[in-house]
Amino acid sequence: MAAEREPPPLGDGKPTDFEELEEGEDLFTSTVSTLESSPSSPEPASLLAEDVSTNSNGPKPAEVVLDDDREDLFAEATEEVSLDSPEREPIPSSEPSPAVTPVTPTTLIAPRIESKSMSAPVIFDRSREEIEEEANGDVFDIEIGVSDPEKVGDGMNAYMAYRVTTKTSLSMFSKSEFSVKRRFSDFLGLHSKLASKYLHVGYIVPPAPEKSIVGMTKVKVGKEDSSSTEFVEKRRAALERYLQRTVKHPTLLQDPDLRQFLESSELPRAVNTQALSGAGILRMVNKAADAVNKMTIKMNESDAWFEEKQQQFENLDQQLRKLHASVEALVCHRKELSANTAAFAKSAAMLGNSEDHTALSRALSQLAEVEEKIDQLHQEQAFADFYMFSELLSDYIRLIAAVKGVFDHRMKCWQKWEDAQITLLKKRETEAKMMVANKPDKIQQAKNEIREEIEEVG
C-alpha cells in the first residue's frame, strides 16, 4: 500500500510519513484510496505549488501551514503531499521558481497564512516544534549527540572522526538507537546538499560550522596543547548544535540525505567541500558574483512585510555582532584572570612557607588555597560563558546570514522573473512582426519561443 501511494517523483520518505499518521488515526484508512488519485494531480500543480512557498504574497513561513495540515484532517494531507513533492526531487538548484499565478491549493491555505502570526525565525523554530508535538500524539523525539572526537590517520592526511549518536522513537528510522562515525567534511557535504535542495524554496537551512584551516592543521600536526583540544571541543559542540537544529526542522528531517547521514555506516566522501578543490573555487567565484549582483540589483520592494523584516534583520545582525564581540572579550579577560590568580596562589603559598610566624604562615597558605579555588571557578565560568553565551550568539549570527541568503535568493528569483518577462515581451513583438511579414515558418519558430518563455516565466 505504501508503495502504491508513492507518487513517482517522491523519495522514499513519504510513505513512512503516512504510516506515522496512520498509527494514530485509523479512521483515515478509508480515505487512503482517494489519495492514490491525488498524487497524479500534483504534477502540474507541483511547480505552481512550489510558488506558494516563494510567493511573496504571504509570509515566508508557508511551511508552517504544512504542519497545521498534519494535525488537521487527513484530507488536508493531499495538499501536503502536493506541496512537499517538489522538494523530494533532487532539483538542480539552478532552476528558479518564480511565482506567478497561485493555484487552487493556495486558496485553501491562504486563510491559514493570514492566521499564522509573523514571527521571527528564532521563535519560529520553537513554535514549529510545539505544533509537531501536538500532532496526533506522535512524540517528536530525536536526540542527537556528537561525541568522542578521535584522530584518525597521520600527518597532513589526518582528520578528526566524530561519533554521531542518534536516539529516536520516530518510526522512519530503522532502529531506535544507532551511532556512526563522521568527519567534518561529511557534515559540510550534508549541509551543501540540503542547501541546494531547500534554499531556493525559501527554507532556512541551518548553517554548518566553518572550516578552520589553522585549527585543523594544528590538530593534524599533532600538537597536544590546550589550544588544539579547545578547538576540537569547540567544533564538536558546534557540530552537535548544528545537527540538533537541522533535525528540529520537520521538513529537513524527512530528507533522505539527512537520514543517510545519520544511519549509514559508510558515506561517500564529500570531496566538494575541500577548500582547494574545483568546487571550492567555483563557490568562491559564485560568492564574488553574488556580491556584485547585490550591489547592482535594485528591487522594487512591493511587499512591505519583507522590507520591514529585512531592516529588522539588518539591525539585529549588527547588534548581535557587537554583543558577540564584547562577550568574547569578556571570556578572554576571564581566562587571563584565572591564569593570573593561579600564579598568585602559588606565590602566596611560597610566601606562607617562608613566613616564620606559624599563625600567619597558616593564614597565608589558606589564602593560597582559596585563590586556587577561585581560579577553578573562574575557569568554569569562562567555559560556561563561552559555550552558552558566546557560541549561541555566533550561531544566531550565522543563522541571520542564512536568512539574508534566503532574502537574496528571493531577490535573484525576482530578477530572473523580470528578465524572463522582458524576453517574453520581446519574443511576442517578434512574433507580431512575423505575423505581419507573413512568414509562416518564422511564425512557428516565434510561437515555439514564446511558449518556452511562458513556461520559464510561469
Partner: protein, 432 residues
C-alpha cells in the same frame, strides 16, 4: 655631618643646629614610651605605631597640578624645639625623598630601620586614558562616553588618595619612632615655611645611586663569602636567612597580585559594552524578550559596579599591603647589611690591631680604632635586634588586620552579587 651629599638646601630653620642633649632625649623617650596606646591611623598599613600625642603629623590637603602634587603637611606638637604648637607647610614629593635619603645617609641611624620612602605619584596611566577619551571615539554613544569619563575620574581620584596615604604613612612612622622623630632635618621638613629648594636627583646622581647599589651588593656578597666572618649571634643568622628569602617571595607575590588586580579590572570594565549592547537589543524587540534584554542589561551594569568595588578593595588590602612590606623588608635587609659591614670593620680592626702589636707600631691608633669599631658594632647589634623584633610584630599585626578586612569585604560583595544574580534569575524565569 648631616651627610646631605651634593644637594643644596636652605637650612637655617631655627638658626641653631639642634643637638640632642641627653636630658631632653631621655625625657622625650620616656614620654614616647608612656603613651603607647594605639592611635587612630588613617592608613592601616602600619597599624602598630606607638601612640603619642606629643607629635602629630598628617597630610591635611593635597593639590594635583599638571605634573606635580603638592601636599599640605600639618603638624601639631607640644615639643619644645618647635616654634609653634600648630603649623603647616606645603611639600612636594622630591622633598620627601630628600628627607628619606638624609636619614639613610646619617651614620647615627645606621642601627635603625628607616621607613621606606613613598613611591612617586604616578598618574601616567590615568592621564593617558583620559586623553584618549578626550580625543574622541565616534563609535561610542553619549551615555557610554559619560560612563567611561566617570570611571576614569573615579580611578584618578583613587590613585590620588593612595599616594596621599603613602606619604602620610611615611611621615607618621618617622614621627612615632622615638629616635628618628628628633632628627633636625625632620623638624626642618615639618616647620620650614618656605620652599626647601630641593631639586630632584639629576641623571648623574641617579647613576651614582645606581652604582652605589651595585657596590653595596658586591660588598655584601664579599663579606658573607669571607670565611673568617662568622655570625656569632644566632638570632641575626636566623633573621638574615629569613629576610633574604622573605623579601624575594614577597616581591614575587606583590607582582602577581598586581597582575591579578589588572586583569580583574579589565574584566569588570568588560561588562560595560555588554550592557550597552543588550540595551540596544532590547530597544529593538517587543514584549517579553524586550523586558528580558533590559533586565539583563541592568544586571551587567550592576555587576560591573560590584566587581570594580571588589577590585579596589583587593587592591587596597592585599596589593598595597604586600608592596609596603616588600619595601619595609628591603629596609630591614639594609639594616642587616649595615650591621654586617660594621662587623667586618670590627674584624678588620682586630686584625690590624694584631698586626700593629706584632710590629709594635701605631698600637695606640689601632687600639682606639678597634675600640670604636667594637662599640659601633655592639650599638648596631642592639638596636638592630630591637628594630627587627618590632618589624616582625608590626608585620604580623598589619597582615592580620588587612587579611581579615579583605576577607570580610569579599564576603560582603559576594553576598551582594549572589543576591543580585538570584533576583534577576527569578525575574527572567518568572515571566512566561
Amino acid at each position: 655631618m648631616w651627610g646631605l651629599g651634593t644637594r643644596t638646601t636652605d637650612l637655617t630653620a631655627n638658626g641653631v643646629p639642634h643637638h640632642k642633649s641627653g636630658i631632653q632625649s631621655k625625657g622625650e623617650a620616656a614620654r614616647a614610651r608612656r603613651g603607647n596606646h594605639a592611635r587612630l591611623q588613617p592608613s592601616s598599613i602600619s597599624a602598630d605605631l606607638p601612640g603619642d600625642s606629643s607629635l602629630w603629623v598628617e597630610i591635611s590637603d593635597a593639590v594635583s597640578e599638571r605634573d606635580k602634587v603638592k601636599f599640605t603637611v600639618q603638624t601639631k606638637s607640644c615639643l619644645p624645639h618647635f616654634a609653634q604648637t600648630e603649623f603647616s607647610v606645603v611639600r612636594q614629593h622630591e622633598e620627601f625623598i630628600w628627607l628619606h635619603d638624609a636619614f639613610v645617609e646619617n651614620e647615627e641611624y645606621a642601627g635603625l630601620i628607616i621607613p621606606p620612602a613613598p613611591p612617586r605619584p604616578d598618574f601616567e596611566a590615568s592621564r593617558e586614558k583620559l586623553q584618549k577619551l578626550g580625543e574622541g571615539d565616534s563609535c561610542v554613544t553619549r551615555e557610554e562616553f559619560a560612563k567611561m569619563k566617570q570611571e576614569l575620574e573615579a580611578e584618578y581620584l583613587a590613585i590620588f588618595k593612595k599616594t596621599v596615604a603613602m606619604h602620610e604613612v611615611f611621615l607618621q612612622r618617622l614621627a612615632a619612632h622615638p629616635t628618628l622623630r628628633q632628627d633636625h632635618n625632620f623638624s626642618v621638613f615639618l616647620e620650614y615655611g618656605q620652599d626647601l629648594r630641593v631639586r630632584g636627583k639629576n641623571r648623574k646622581e641617579l647613576l651614582g645611586g645606581f652604582l652605589r647599589n651595585i657596590v653595596k651588593s658586591a660588598d655584601e656578597a664579599l663579606i658573607t663569602g669571607m670565611s673568617g666572618l662568622k655570625e656569632v649571634d644566632d638570632f641575626f643568622e636566623h633573621e638574615r636567612t629569613f629576610l633574604l628569602e622573605y623579601h624575594i617571595r614577597i616581591q614575587d607575590a606583590c607582582l602577581q597580585a598586581d597582575r591579578v588586580i589588572h586583569s580583574h579590572k579589565s574584566l569588570a570594565e568588560g561588562f560595560n559594552p555588554i550592557s550597552a549592547a543588550l540595551n540596544s537589543l532590547g530597544t529593538q524587540e517587543v514584549n517579553q524578550l524586550k523586558t528580558s534584554f533590559f533586565k539583563l542589561a541592568e544586571l551587567f551594569e550592576r555587576l560591573r559596579k560590584l566587581e570594580s568595588r571588589v577590585v579596589s578593595d583587593e587592591d587596597l588590602k592585599l596589593s598595597d599591603l604586600l608592596r609596603y612590606y616588600m619595601r619595609d623588608s628591603q629596609a630591614a635587609k639594609d639594616l642587616l647589611y649595615r650591621r654586617l659591614r660594621a662587623l667586618a670593620d670590627y674584624e678588620n680592626a682586630n686584625k690590624a690591631l694584631d698586626k700593629a702589636r706584632t710590629r709594635n707600631r701605631e698600637v695606640r691608633t689601632a687600639e682606639s680604632h678597634q675600640q670604636l669599631c667594637c662599640q659601633r658594632f655592639e650599638r648596631l647589634s642592639d638596636s638592630a635586634k630591637q628594630e627587627l623584633m618590632d618589624f616582625k610584630s608590626r608585620r604580623i599585626s598589619s597582615f592580620r588586620k588587612n587579611l581579615i578586612e579583605l576577607a570580610e569585604l569579599e564576603l560582603k560583595h559576594a553576598k551582594a552579587s549572589t543576591l543580585l544574580l538570584r533576583n534577576t534569575l527569578v525575574i527572567l524565569k518568572g515571566e512566561p
